[in-house]
């Protein structure tokens, strides 16, 4: 199948984040808590528009994908996350970008 032209694809934003928590967490835990916090704060309908996905997560840092029109809502629901598996935690957004590559280069690799 031929790939869609970039102009026809749904536009995304990629939020590079770091996890600050009492205990280490896995990617699955983060997915679960972010979605639950979003659905509690924004409701299921807005959350479905946000199209939140946790793309990668290792060494306390990762990338969350969301719709380009819902960056604010996604950030707010990341802010509303207070606990992961009952342990205190917070997600700090390092920056946003339009491509995974740029988000990784600019926010995740620069500090290493």
């Amino acid at each position: 199948m031929k790939r869609l032209l970039p102009s026809l694809r749904a536009k995304k934003r990629y939020l590079a984040f770091e996890l600050i928590s009492e205990e280490p967490a896995s990617r699955g835990d983060i997915v679960k808590e972010v979605i639950s916090s979003a659905s509690s704060l924004l409701g299921d309908i807005t959350t479905s528009d946000c199209d939140i996905k946790v793309l990668g997560f290792e060494n306390g840092k990762g990338i969350i994908q969301c719709s380009h029109a819902k960056v604010k809502e996604t950030r707010a629901s990341m802010a509303a996350l207070t606990r992961i598996n009952g342990k205190r935690a917070t997600l700090h957004v390092l920056g946003t970008s339009g491509t995974v590559k740029r988000a990784t280069e600019k926010f995740l690799q620069a500090e290493n």
Binding site: I20, K72, R75, A76, A79, A80, T82
Partner: protein
């Protein structure tokens, strides 16, 4: 216009909160704040004044959050702590305390005004707040930590207060009310959360940068600052 500076004016450090002020300051600095105010509750103060850390490019202001149930005792507490603090916050929560705080121009911020079935503010109090230059604090911690019916209550109280604040032109201050490092949120997240909760973009930005700057300017009058009630007359033939 330069990049706005962000301030978090209500942070509780040990022994009131869980973490030391050094830990909170370095995390806040990492998050992009230009300054925070250490505002421990007045009923849990240590015996001696804690030393404030000095970090380059970051300021830690001395603040206090007064907890008192008797309005006349509140006024005397305000008198006692006013000169030694940069930020004076009153922990509201009853009709008489809210009133006492909003009618005292020496108070900077009123936090948690809501009680029982009221949002804590009304037309009369909002007017008093605007006249006396007392800002209404929007603490994030209770909003972030609760869910469901409790958060719905808090948000509707907050929206009622927001309407009043807009009508009477009362300043708002966004603060984390952090009890530990995990309660701090970066300025951008705080702004996003405030906007989702109903603030306009410019209102939220004012609440986290301009209003705190004004409070500090008022309490630390530098050279050239004109105090409230004084008018500078210019011209040749005044005398």
């Amino acid at each position: 216009m330069g990049k706005p500076k962000f301030y978090d004016f209500c942070v509780h450090a040990a022994p009131d909160g869980d973490n030391t002020i050094e830990e909170l300051s370095s995390l806040a600095r990492h998050f992009g704040y230009s300054g925070i105010a250490l505002a421990n509750h007045s009923d849990k103060l240590p015996d001696k004044k804690p030393a404030l850390p000095s970090i380059e490019g970051f300021e830690v202001f001395r603040g206090i959050e007064l907890v008192e149930e008797n309005p006349s005792k509140l006024h005397s507490l305000i008198g006692k702590f006013r000169s030694s603090t940069d930020v004076l916050i009153v922990h509201g929560g009853s009709e008489s305390i809210n009133r006492a705080a909003l009618e005292n121009p020496r108070v900077d911020i009123l936090n948690h005004p809501a009680f029982d079935k009221s949002s804590g503010l009304n037309q009369v109090l909002a007017k008093a707040a605007a006249e006396n230059g007392v800002a209404i604090g929007i603490p994030l911690r209770p909003l972030l930590h609760s869910r469901g019916s409790r958060r719905i209550r808090m948000l509707s109280d907050f929206k009622a207060n927001l309407e009043l604040a807009r009508k009477y032109d009362v300043s708002l201050v966004l603060c984390s009310d952090a009890m530990s490092c995990y309660d701090l949120r970066s300025p951008m997240e705080t702004l996003a959360f405030a906007e989702v909760c109903g603030l306009e973009e410019d209102e939220a930005l004012d609440a986290i940068s301009t209003v705190p700057e004004k409070i500090i300017k008022k309490n630390r009058p530098g050279p050239g600052y004109v105090r409230e009630g004084i008018e500078v007359l210019e011209g040749e033939d005044i005398f």
